[in-house]
Symmetry: C2
Subunit: 404 residues, 2 copies
């Protein structure tokens, strides 16, 4: 298969499985200009699927950076509110949204952090209406990635530019199941697997999970009325979409007061530009009471000291070692990929879709300004489910699901 | 000077002279994705000039065409009204607009003309609010061109692709005064020249112009209360912009009943995809009564038969033979350039800015569905102004201005 054919298959999956645009529906495509070749293919597949209109809104990294280099101080409290309001109007009127990400992680290197912060706050405020529509699944939407040179360089820093981009594409195609004989079918099967896994776990209503592996013996009590989620979502317009591509996790809400024991990270954590390795922590009554790291220990301790909830868990997720992302052996420095490489826990804010009726602190939902995933799973990880009566049932053995 | 330096100068002229973006003003840049390198430079210059925010809205020719190839029949009555409404809101709130054109003239070759017509009507209807703000100069705006491969191929059909693009860039840079030592100064001087020329001609209040050259002896009576325009315009927000880049013409309104004599075209006319050469016509009482062409005569006769006003004049424009566009010797197949190559007349609709108080048929303003410019000037053209009392004053000799 040529690179063009693979890109076309990625576009087809994004349209048919990711956003699942419907006949008669408008589609907005947010994309970096660099992703033009993928956008062109997405547009063709979306029209083939019966979209009435496909509207790409391109952004250019160079243009973004030019502002921080050339603009006056007054500029940084502005954002194109009129454009985000228009997107909210279109989504409110039924448009689907497909977002392609791939910015250079080093894009704003050397720019004034105060300016970056002000610009981010102005954009966040202006985007709130459209962001709320997206996060509440008012419409079908999806996010996927494009291998830009800047991102590729951060994943393969020792490779020449073109080789780095080619390697990153190979990895994206592999974890996106583009290499499989019928990728659309493969994704339908995979989404069904994740859905079944959630159904089984939701039916079990475990009181806790127990993780055991090298350096890990952790009991994660689950929140009352917790709900497992993963894979596809039925949006409020009735269309089933797959919001993240790739996705391998099923995840739910820990009880913020009921985590006990020790856990060791199995992969490095990249946070705020810093690398943290060899994390080992001990929990008591839901809270980290001891924390070590072989590298970046100060950064890690500062992170868990952000606020009261930063030392407690907001998410626990199960990912099998057979996951294509895990099999790649790469650190993508992109959450869309890395959180699908292994079982993980997240420090900080809980997710409302993981509790019936939304987040409720009284039932165990954690609150924090942060939400940071870190990997604890491996091929040597065993996971048990523990029922309210204390019965123990195997969920994973040696990194593979035995249940669901 | 490298190509990059020339592109940077073009961007600087577009920002400082064309749209003349003001400190504290937002700027919308409409552009083909192909023009990304020019847009990046425009963004930098606009922020340097104090713009608060520069918002590029990119369009992709391939995406436009994909719709005609892949979409369902229902698609073609849709347009992204929410996006055009948002642009109108932004312009209404004070944003300036810079538009870069350069579409492949053959972009939609082979596509269903009925679908193209429906899509154009849907877009025209949705764009009406923003178009009205632009055409009434509610804000400062400008249009310039980018040498895309498709356009270059239509100007230099016998050249390989890269050579055609390079040649078209050379021509654009030359007619945009980018090659001159201080292009911004050169444009300020040029705009002042055009303004002075308009002032002098407006003061003269000629009753008619007489054109004499090989195959031409034409008396063009001017409309009552006619006004000469050209070069820069003061928009209603008080900012002076140069709406067309390049621009070489000063133009006014003929009296639709008062054109007499014969005139020969000095360059081929490209209209509706057809080439018309060797045009010779005779006017009586403002109307064409005899029309010949050595090539495309049927097309030309059909054109002037479109409606009653199509055989009368809506514009007369003076352009010196020294104009850089004339000196290039090229047919650009792009009105933004070609109408600046020679003195020309336009069949059809008159322009409201050319009459005090706007178009008025009783004072001589012509009405028609068409407005087609064709070139009658050359280095052998003499033009006289004739006053109401019959006094004759030279305006141009051998294609050069002697007045104004």
């Amino acid at each position: 298969m040529t690179q063009d054919e693979k890109l076309d298959r990625l576009a087809e999956i994004a349209v048919k499985i990711g956003v699942n645009v419907q006949k008669g529906q408008e589609l907005i495509v947010n994309a970096p200009v660099d992703a033009r070749a993928l956008v062109q293919r997405i547009v063709a597949h979306a029209y083939d699927a019966g979209a009435t209109l496909v509207v790409p809104l391109f952004v250019d990294d160079v243009v973004q950076r030019a502002r921080f280099v050339h603009a006056d101080e007054e500029s940084f409290d502005f954002s194109p509110a009129w454009l985000y309001e228009a997107m909210a109007k279109s989504v409110g009127d039924g448009a689907a949204v497909l977002t392609i990400v791939g910015s250079d992680p080093m894009l704003l290197a050397g720019c004034d952090p105060a300016r970056i912060g002000r610009a981010q706050r102005a954009t966040a405020a202006a985007m709130k209406p459209v962001r709320n529509l997206i996060s509440s699944f008012a419409t079908n939407w999806s996010i996927l990635s494009f291998a830009t040179p800047g991102w590729a360089a951060s994943v393969f820093p020792d490779e020449p530019r073109d080789a780095a981009v080619a390697k990153l594409w190979d990895a994206i195609f592999a974890v996106s199941r583009v290499d499989q004989p019928d990728p659309v079918r493969a994704w339908r099967d995979h989404a069904a697997t994740l859905r079944r896994r959630c159904d089984v776990l939701n039916e079990k209503r475990f009181a806790a999970l127990r993780f055991r592996g090298p350096g890990t013996d952790l009991r994660v009590g689950l929140a009352e009325d917790h709900r497992w989620a993963g894979g596809s979502v039925e949006s409020r317009n009735g269309t089933v979409c797959l919001p993240n591509m790739p996705t391998e996790e099923v995840f739910t809400m820990p009880h913020k007061m009921k985590v006990e024991g020790v856990v060791s990270a199995t992969k490095p954590l990249v946070n705020g530009g810093a690398l943290i390795e060899g994390i080992w922590v001990r929990f008591e009554a839901g809270r980290i009471v001891e924390a070590q790291a072989s590298k970046g220990q100060d950064v890690f301790r500062a992170l868990i000291g952000t606020d009261e909830g930063a030392a407690r868990l907001g998410e626990v997720a199960l990912v099998p070692e057979a996951s294509p992302v895990a099999q790649s052996g790469l650190i993508f420095r992109n959450t869309l990929f890395d959180e699908n490489a292994a079982c993980h826990i997240a420090l900080g804010q809980a997710l409302s879709l993981n509790m019936e009726g939304g987040c409720d602190a009284a039932r165990g939902a954690n609150e924090s300004l942060i939400h940071v995933d870190w990997m604890i799973g491996s091929g040597q990880m065993d996971v048990d489910g523990i029922t309210a009566s204390g019965a123990v049932e195997p969920v994973m053995r040696a990194g593979a699901f035995t249940l669901g």
